[in-house]
Symmetry: C2
Subunit: 163 residues, 2 copies
DNA sequence: ACTTGAATATTTAAGCTTGAAATAATCCAT
DNA sequence: ATGGATTATTTCAAGCTTAAATATTCAAGT
């Protein structure tokens, strides 16, 4: 998980090597926080809901779009590859949590939607998930959380804030 | 990748549902930043160094410990499972980048070290990697980066800051 | 010595992930 | 209409990841 920063030196263009080190340190912390939270979420989804994180993510994407999403919309939304989503959706379909349908005139595409069962399952998981995040990030005040969110805004996605 | 926040309500214990929403939003942003940076790093490691991110991470861990690490130290350091590290180290050994050795009296354990070739390969990758992070987090000032790092400090690991 | 329990590492099965190649359907400029 | 580009998705191989099961070794305590 990435090496820790070393010494610092001034550079010709006005930027400082220490700036780069500060960002590298931030990156390491971001990564650790992500891994910790993801680890907890994975474990609790497994034990409490017999679900996985990727399945939860796909269902979260679909929950926001009752009319359904294309496979490519899901993969863009989640920032994962197309081929990846195919397998996850396959398994969700096998479990009766989501459905594929060819409603439009384009036979290349299919709309993916949550089934009634899928919506119910996700609603329960989402409530628990939010409380886990609140617990794990509890050391950060709401105000700080908002400030940090704002500073990470450049990573905002096309889709975020649509709803 | 996690659902976006919805409405807000007051609660009995003084905490606000909006606080939970603020943390959830932060979590989504952290996750997106991580995925974006990891995606870029993965792609550039592949094209520029014919390496993978997990291999890079293991080498980064070892680079800091010239005397070697146990398998379990590596997995704890990287916050990944034990079994995971076995496979990655196997492949690094096959490529001549790291070596296993039984230097101590305990035959359960083996010390993993970077080979000379491995150290050289990592040094080149690490320099590039730091510049990628600097580029991708460039929208965040060094001062902000330090502040954010401090607020994520609770996720600090046992090992961080040792060196 | 022997047993018990803890520590370390590997193996296994299932699933996730990527990037590239293959497939298939649609669109569009002739 | 038709050939070629574009778009959407799946398939595939390689590798990553976890949790659980297994095996081995070590450390005590008897």
């Amino acid at each position: 998980m990435v090496s820790a920063p070393l010494p610092a030196v001034a550079r010709a263009d006005g930027s400082k090597q220490s700036d780069s080190k500060a960002r590298l340190r931030l990156w390491i912390r971001l990564l650790r926080a992500s891994r910790l939270i993801e680890g907890v979420a994975r474990e609790r989804l497994k034990t409490q809901f017999d679900a996985t994180l990727p399945r939860f993510d796909v269902m979260a994407a679909l929950f926001r779009k009752p009319d359904g999403m294309l496979m490519s919309e899901i993969s863009r939304f989640l920032m994962v590859s197309n081929g990846n989503v195919t397998g996850i959706v396959d398994r969700l379909v096998a479990d009766g949590l989501v459905a594929r349908s060819q409603r439009n005139g384009d036979r290349r595409t299919s709309f993916i939607t949550l089934t009634r069962k899928g919506r119910a399952a996700f609603a329960a998981m989402a409530a628990a998930h939010e409380s886990w995040v609140d617990e794990l990030l509890g050391g950060i005040s709401a105000r700080d959380a908002e400030q940090m969110s704002a500073k990470l805004k450049s990573f905002r996605s096309d889709w975020e804030g649509e709803a």
